[in-house]
């Protein structure tokens, strides 16, 4: 499976694979306080045993409420955090096992777009320098005139003017800044983009512009996206497949159409019925009960059982496994496995 060195193999359907990925954070009090109070270390399991694969040219979205580990996943995939367990396999190469040189070669091929366009651009750098940074860092071009030309091209591509090279980030609006972030991400000709809530800081009309731009770029360059968002409507618009996360675990993965028309997991059903919609059909809502539990002390068994209308004793003790159905969708729920849930159609 691991064919290191053969990067860019076009026969490889899966571009990114994540296997049993976990990331813990040590949120203990300082050592002395712990010793005095006689407390053990406190470990927050932000992501706990996540597996998924993204095919070339596909958009996989991860959705979930705050604190479910979406952004941690994005950062682990990009190498900003080291995984505590499990592996990230990019184009057949295990990132953890690759040599530094190999890693550098791979890094060129994926980039990240962040949520806050105000925080992700250096306020003291001119736009030209910001966009050129990956080109220089990866040694793709060295000739300054060539670089400038490439930056011109990139800026035009994302709907800005080449003249904007000389400006500073503060001279732009939120949407324009996100365009600069996208131009920067594209500058090393990546195949894979990790987008962590790229539109949540933007107004709807600007969000529509950015989503359209991202779709156009994907078509043009055959980009693969890992799209992280809490907005289900945005996710349904942009993705091919959707993964729903709850407390650091995936509870359901399926094709976008399927997950929105026939959600299987009770949590997915609850999320979908909670979105206020424009149709005003006055549809019956699944009663939304409770809140996300404290991730420091997650419930036993299935972590969703305290809020789940279908929970029984098995759910309280045994953690459900991800079961893949014939159509490629997967769901981790005892109730679905035992067919205890009446399948409802959310149209």
């Amino acid at each position: 499976m691991i064919n290191s060195g053969k990067s860019g193999n076009p026969t490889n359907q899966v571009l990114l694979e994540v296997r049993d990925l976990a990331r813990d954070f040590d949120v203990s009090k300082p050592w002395l306080n712990r010793v005095i109070d006689g407390q053990p270390r406190t470990i927050l399991k932000a992501v706990d045993g996540l597996s998924f694969a993204i095919k070339r040219g596909e958009t996989l979205s991860l959705v979930g409420e705050s604190g479910c580990g979406k952004s941690t996943i994005a950062r682990v995939v990009c190498g900003l955090y080291a995984p505590s367990r499990g592996s990230v396999i990019f184009d057949g190469v295990d990132m953890a096992k690759a040599s530094t040189q190999e890693q550098q070669q791979l890094r060129k091929r994926f980039q990240m777009i962040f949520q806050d366009p105000y925080a992700s651009l250096n306020p003291r750098w001119r736009v030209g320098k910001i966009v050129a940074e990956p080109i220089i860092a990866h040694g793709i071009m060295t000739d300054p005139t060539q670089i400038k030309q490439r930056v011109d091209e990139l800026l035009t591509q994302v709907g800005l003017s080449p003249l904007d090279q000389e400006k500073f980030p503060h001279e732009f609006s939120g949407g324009q800044r996100q365009r600069i972030s996208i131009a920067r991400a594209l500058s090393s000709n990546p195949e894979f983009l990790v987008c962590d809530e790229p539109t949540s800081a933007l107004d709807v009309s600007v969000q529509a512009q950015i989503l359209n731009l991202m779709k156009d770029l994907q078509r043009q360059y055959g980009l693969t996206y890992l799209f992280i968002s809490h907005n289900l409507a945005v996710v349904s618009h942009i993705s091919d497949r959707v993964g729903v996360m709850y407390l650091g675990r995936l509870v359901e993965v399926a094709d976008t159409k399927k997950i929105f028309n026939r959600p299987l997991h009770p949590y997915t059903q609850m999320l979908l019925s909670a979105i206020p919609d424009l149709k005003m059909t006055g549809k019956q809502r699944t009663p939304v009960a409770g809140e996300v539990p404290n991730p420091l002390n997650p419930p036993t068994g299935c972590t969703f059982h305290p809020r789940c209308p279908y929970a029984n004793d098995r759910c309280k003790t045994e953690s459900p496994k991800m079961l893949t159905a014939a159509d490629g969708g997967a769901v981790a729920c005892h109730a679905v496995e035992e067919k205890r849930i009446p399948i409802e159609l959310v149209a």
Partner: protein
């Protein structure tokens, strides 16, 4: 028609700055009937929050009401002295803000904060006030209210804090609540709970609500009427179903198309090119004219003369497309 609870007439909010006078809210008028929920939507900087802040007179200086009238229950309140206004805040107008953590005092228990509001506005004894506070907390769905009343804000989760804020806004039985992005800081599942609660309480108490939000979905679920704001002006106002399904103003049409909707498969979202003008560069005539796709149907009037709200059937839109002189020759817009 019943007399409106709140009437805002020709409200204009200005900010004097070194570079000149900026008009953030420009000559807007609307009214809210008793028990009605009026939604105000718009993008950031459209002036929605300022409108809410002006009504309750919490505008941050140097912002000020430059002209216009605010009439609550037949009484003009925009020119009241500070002390008089203090009595109205909480008693007649309640407020719910976006961030529930910053709208509660972290140093006092929630019980103290609620009883303080009750004691300030209602002639009751401290014991009665405490009992009322517990009732209120029960009403907003806080479990074990008798115990929770002695807890501090940091001991509550975001959704629970927003419930406390709602109970605080309702404490003195105000006739009007100004809810400024009450669910923006919350997750969808919690948002649904809070919206349901707000709707239920307002129906039971007969409270009117001015609901300010950028989320059209929240408006669709909650409001009776909606005002769409753009660059400090009301672009369109009308019954919520009309505005959402048959928008008349080109900006509203664009805005509705820009919202991705579940179950509606579109390859591309409608996009309104450009962005909202800055306050120091609001175009003459209609503020939307540089981004509008239909200016060619009207002509020079869009760039020279500012449109006021004009009736277009069930909604009112500030657009020259609906001027009576042109209406005869122009076909109605179908969306």
């Amino acid at each position: 028609m019943t007399t409106p609870l709140l009437e805002v007439k020709n409200l204009r909010i200005q900010f004097p700055t070194r570079r000149g006078l900026l008009t953030a809210v420009d000559d807007i008028s609307f009214s809210i009937a008793p028990g009605e929920v009026l939604g105000v939507v718009g993008e950031s900087g459209a002036g929605k929050s300022l409108t809410g802040a002006a009504i309750i007179r919490l505008l941050e200086p140097p912002g000020r009401i430059a002209s216009g009238e605010i009439i609550l229950n037949g009484r003009r309140i925009d020119n009241l002295p500070f002390e008089e206004m203090r009595k109205i805040r909480g008693r007649e107008i309640g407020a719910i803000f976006q961030d529930p953590l910053t709208s509660l005092n972290p140093l006092y228990t929630i019980g103290k904060q609620i009883t303080e509001t009750i004691l300030t506005h209602l002639p009751v004894s401290p014991e009665e006030a405490k009992k009322r506070a517990i009732d209120l907390l029960n009403e907003v769905g806080i479990p074990a209210a008798e115990k929770r009343i002695d807890h501090y804000p940091h001991q509550f989760s975001g959704g629970m804090r927003q419930r406390v804020v709602i109970s605080l806004a309702l404490a003195a039985e105000p006739k009007l609540i100004i809810a400024d992005e009450p669910t923006t800081a919350l997750d969808v599942s919690i948002q649904a709970q809070i919206i349901t609660l707000l709707k239920k309480l307002c129906r039971e108490h007969g409270t009117s609500v001015l609901l300010i939000t950028h989320d059209m979905g929240v408006i669709a679920e909650t409001a009776d009427r909606v005002a769409v704001m753009y660059a400090g002006r009301i672009a369109e106002i009308g019954p919520v179903a009309e505005v959402i399904h048959k928008p008349k103003h080109p900006y509203t049409v664009g805005l509705m198309g820009a919202i991705p909707t579940l179950g509606v498969d579109v390859e591309r979202l409608t996009q309104i090119d450009g962005s909202m003008p800055r306050l120091n560069a609001i175009p003459t005539g209609c503020a939307f004219n540089p981004r509008c796709t239909r200016t060619n149907e009207v002509g020079a009037r869009c760039t020279s003369e500012r449109p006021n709200l004009m009736p277009t059937g069930k909604t009112d839109a500030a657009c020259w497309l609906y001027a009576t002189s042109t209406a005869a020759t122009k076909p109605t817009v179908s969306v």
